[in-house]
Symmetry: C2
Subunit: 339 residues, 2 copies
Amino acid sequence: MATVGIKDIATLAKVSPATVSRVLSSPELVSKKTLNKVKKIIDEMGYRPNRIGASLRTRKSGNIVAIIPDITNPVNAGIIRAIEQGAQSAGYSILLGDTQGLVERERHYADLVTSGQADGVLLFCSRMPFRIDPTLPLSGQIPPMVNANENMGNDEIVQVAVDNVAAAKAAVDYLVAQGHKRIAAITGPDDIPSSNERLQGYFAALEEAGLVLDPDLQIAGTYTVDSGVNCAEKLLLLRKRPTAIFCFNDEMAIGVMKLLKKQGFLIPEDVSVMGFDDIHYAEYVTPALSTVHQPLKEIGTACINLLLEQLRGNHVPPGRQFLPFELKLRASTGPAPHF
Amino acid sequence: MATVGIKDIATLAKVSPATVSRVLSSPELVSKKTLNKVKKIIDEMGYRPNRIGASLRTRKSGNIVAIIPDITNPVNAGIIRAIEQGAQSAGYSILLGDTQGLVERERHYADLVTSGQADGVLLFCSRMPFRIDPTLPLSGQIPPMVNANENMGNDEIVQVAVDNVAAAKAAVDYLVAQGHKRIAAITGPDDIPSSNERLQGYFAALEEAGLVLDPDLQIAGTYTVDSGVNCAEKLLLLRKRPTAIFCFNDEMAIGVMKLLKKQGFLIPEDVSVMGFDDIHYAEYVTPALSTVHQPLKEIGTACINLLLEQLRGNHVPPGRQFLPFELKLRASTGPAPHF
DNA sequence: TTGTAAGCGTTATCAC
DNA sequence: GTGATAACGCTTACAA
């Protein structure tokens, strides 16, 4: 691997390094003749340009860092897959920053931009990983950045997601239309904005339906199957049980169904269960889970496109961009039981 | 973001750039006094070293590229998560190369090493992404590299995985012990070495049990739920149906169960279903899926450690390294039906 | 259309 | 312990 550089090619092709560089980066500036000559040598020598050298000079790394709480989460994985695809087509590579939800790791990965290793950020969480002076305008303080699937509570940031309020409302509207009057909500952790948005949608639907809002029917989970089990236990212990349970993600819905079945409840005859996300397996649990579908691929594509636009130096209007959700009605929801 | 560099710090601290560099990289070489002085200025100025400049000089990017057919696959996601963790602790970042199984994308990501953007490779597929001269020894032709969870058919490469032959044999041994005599196998695509290894294990178990090997009972799937459905259809159409179906991954097992239930078969009373992988949801399908557990975290950790060892310049004995699998017996397998 | 030469921000090698 | 200086491999004014 005796490294062959641009100078070696230049020497062999009897041109200047600048010309070789042009052959690589802007071939239209080079005459056909020298172009071919140089290309031939490049091939013969198996020369591969060193991107680090170029990066140092151009001050562009060609990398985008994705800051993700958990790559194992199928929602994130689905989005990142589309992102990677779009990035690669545009000549960018994705740096994977799985943070396990830790602030320090979010910061660490944000620092990759500061240290020149990444040109832009895709943020899958709601916390701002950069130190910001709140008295100054945000633009100029942060690099090209797009938030994926969360709400940062700041409309100066470009954000792509599903309209969680509307989506949750649609889910609950459906349960209401099925005659349910006691509809429980198992939310996510209360510091997660998207979970709070879903809660708002839940409230809105209940209010519109003129249903009383029973605080006992609102429980915070942690987005895991186990927490679904635990929350369902609390719900079933109530004197007045819910006839429908709306879970803010599919994992918890799966946990809820697990407990329900274990306790001999019929789904949906006794209790309807609604999820959120439409992960791959929602379709294959028994009964098949009704849920809110999030268009992961489209979210990912929109994110990377908006980021690439910024990286090209073009202005992207900040604020939230909503992609359409879809209510997937399967077998876990049905009419409210009669008493 | 008026970029402040090492020289600025040097000037302000009235030392040489070299000293500032030492403060950052080898503080033990600097006197306490200057160390503090320089650190203070660095803090005050919010100076962040530019890694690209350093990379150019040291010829180390600090990146590792993970070449993965599909990040959406929970097995890969689980492994990569542990890898990312280990890499980050060692100061490395992971470049995500989702290839969608395409050779050209595998090559593309391998090229990141050639172009200096990555120092090592974590390979999740069985194809060698580097051009190799087969007449020469492999070492020297490839960068630090570890294969995760596949078999490259080349013992000169460091590879970490579960012993697929033994694992599949254990799974089938169990079915045999349960009295099954007609055990079907739904394999993966036949160009995937790990699938072929599982097939070997299947053969070995049948042979050891003195069972006839019926070619009708061996079908190649594509590792998707749908392909599980299709393969199960073929199996159920046979005049002599299997009483147990061993699927080479959980997704297909889920598909098989879906069809079985749709057709009114009882699992495991009529047909036992065994999966492979033990993905998160295997536990939550109905009936809970018996399967072979792969220790994803351990695989990931072993991979990154072996790679880091190579990146440190230490020799790592090539060849395959097996991590222990575990047979998870849940509700989808049981005794063979009596006739 | 091509060449010259000055960097990009760091670290390594010498001296001192 | 510290400083001067020359790289690392490339791009890009500017000049020719």
